[in-house]
Symmetry: D2
Subunit: 254 residues, 4 copies
């Protein structure tokens, strides 16, 4: 089981709520995924309206809501958004997303560090979305981050673990959980992250835009479990020459 | 369900029997994998001795034995080996492996085509292990092969789908089942092959040499199912710029 | 200097004549490339007309013509085409291209081996275009091939050395020159092939379709020379952790 | 020609002085490289001793010295080191290297931004070594950086452009020169960076540890020029299916 701050999770597949065709499809896909941590953009929720359809779908016993700050441009806005979210959704967990660039949505390391520091002081459980930058991860640890969420590739690109070499270093060095976020476009990508020793993955686009989001969510669930199991079962080494699995001594010579 | 020649398979994970630490571990891992088609090297089996330990372990109702010709150096030897196997193991299925080179164990395209043609005429169900060569695959089809088994990387290397670009072409063009064989070193590799539309994968080394082969076999089982499910559920496109899963319009502007 | 059969070459950049916007541009680009071996499709040349414009452009002292069999579908047609070419162009050199599939233009290993064997017996200097199949390369050697021309990626795709892992094996094992053909889309790809120890590369599309083919030809010339020089100068090992090029002992502590 | 701050460069290959077997070999290799900007670690130079051998070797008309701050752990130490360097070497150019981690030598984004801001105010021409983080690059621009030096892979690893996807974004968005630094292990890597549109590359380890550093320096020089020329000559698109360079219509049908 994975523990982050005060919570434990059976599922290592975290999900999001964007891009689904309907709230009903979303709810069914999230149920199929087995996810216990679901991120939701503040703006997407009508904070005043407790009958908000999406929010109602997410209010199950199993799912823990993780509001995110998508849309903010700096640390100050992020802190304000986190406070809004805490009040509205009754949670001190916050997924910090500060990405000023509208094209690639890549995170700002400086503002993210500043906001993490401030939010940790204010009692938040902070999960920052960041570039796969090992030194930044260590700095965030020093500021009290609850986990780090390095990207595999730009959000929504489905490109997989383009940052693999740096994710390995982050996983090797981190003292907080490492959750690979963004870019995971197929169950094989999720399995790969888990095989490398990541603690969890966050998947949204690849489930939401699938032709069948409910089945795709299940495929991701299984792939994450398979990847984790493989990590624990001890994968073999990679080699450059072949090692036969069948004997080569020819029985025909006898 | 996957159909090859006269048989149907629930499981798309085919396995092998080499490199396990004991026959007991092998049997437990194969059971854990859910595999219904298991390849066995002729030399490994004592054909005269029906009490052969490994063979006994494999004689379950669920498992269909697939003898392989590992050790032969040309078509003539392969045909002879297949006939031996048919008599000893009472099956006309044969995994054709003709790899004269002892270092990389790469298959010989010429001898493999010749042997496939001859064996098909002799009533065998032929599954040839080959380089990921799309033209060779079409030639094998014309000779009556039951399936094609292109390699991902050298046998036992665990390097994954190094031939990805050519596997895609083979899958696109093939009229017989495509089984990715050799090189699959982690569940993520198996999932990737299935996501691409492969009909099945064959895994041996990666399970047999794992620290915990029984759990690893289960991890592969789940990854293969996840990959197949993702293929059927319609994976999204890959892109180069980001597509936000959360809205960018800032709620802070309101 | 590179020797193939009875000829020696200063330049390890071989080129082709397809896809240029005009014969004049082609001639200027080939001059800029420094290439001494230039392949030409039989069909492109009007064999009856000695005033054929392209052919005239290629008749320089420096350039050795290498007719290719592009368009043939099997060994028999290839042998006939080679004989036509020998008569028309007064050369017993032939680039063997047998690719029945019109979409990916991948070569047929079986027909290529048959044609190589036959043509070698007929006194031709055979340079066969093939998949990056190490075992096929050894078979071609046994048949008297003058060189092997494994592909990096499908013709005209510009994708680079997608077959890198198998090219390494081919280079390691080959006793005849290895010329990487097809897929080379940028000077960096050509340099990479040479750094790996390839004897030469053949580039056509990437030069012909460049905005400035003459400058691009020069860029390829330099990259091939750079790659060869690097191979001879002993490249360093790749590592996974950093090795500082500057000292880490802090001068600030003093 | 490349312009950075007040200087123009004919050569786009920047080099370093670490790891050479002797000062003489270093000087010969640098001459062979044609490099006009050479980075030198402060600690490596005996600042008091104007007869320092390495320094004497570098004092040519052609070479512009670029002191680096390797060894410092934060912005404050970096600013102090830069000031020391300015006094000792009579240059206000500084390569900023702040990498607290001794294993992978990855740069600290926060301290680097702080130091850049401070040094720019103090009149330095700052060239910061950074992770390939596109948002950090924009932040550095806003602080007055003279260029950005994103890494391809960890220093000394020779792994090439592992950050390729992010380097593309940086090059697309940057208003200051982009110099790819660290990880470039072969001339093909340098050519690739230039083909992508990088303004320059910095190479040290791959030259210094080659069996023949002088020839390797020349190979890099040529590869950088080839890559730049290819960038300017308009590389073709990459495709997934083949595009024939020779005609397919069979002349045998006639």
């Amino acid at each position: 089981m994975l523990t982050i701050a005060d919570k434990t999770f059976h599922s290592r597949l975290f999900t999001g709520t964007g891009k689904f065709s309907s709230s009903q499809t979303m709810a069914a896909a999230l149920a199929s995924s087995g996810s216990e941590l679901v991120t939701v953009a503040l703006k997407r929720v009508d904070l005043q309206d407790q009958s908000d359809d999406m929010l109602q779908q997410l209010k199950t016993e199993k799912i823990h809501l993780l509001p995110n700050t998508s849309g903010v441009r700096n640390a100050k806005e992020a802190v304000f958004a986190a406070q809004l979210a805490r009040e509205a959704l009754q949670t001190n967990w916050i997924k910090l997303e500060i990405h000023p660039d509208p094209k690639y949505l890549l995170p700002d390391p400086i503002e993210t560090l500043l906001a993490t520091e401030e939010l940790a002081k204010l009692g938040f459980v902070v999960l920052p979305y960041i570039h796969a930058d090992p030194v930044l991860c260590k700095r965030l640890e020093d500021c009290g981050t609850a986990a780090v969420m390095p990207l595999g590739a730009p959000i929504g690109s489905n490109l997989g673990l383009k940052t693999e070499d740096f994710l390995r270093i982050i996983i090797e060095q981190s003292r907080v959980p490492v959750i690979v976020d963004a870019g995971i476009g197929a169950p094989s990508h999720a399995a790969q992250a888990m095989e490398m020793g990541a603690d969890a993955v966050l998947v949204n686009t690849a489930i939401a835009v699938a032709k069948d989001p409910i089945q795709m969510a299940l495929a991701f669930k299984m792939a994450v479990e398979a990847g984790r199991m493989a990590y624990l079962s001890g994968l073999g080494q990679q080699g450059t020459s072949a090692v036969p699995s069948s004997p080569l001594t020819s029985f025909l010579d006898v």
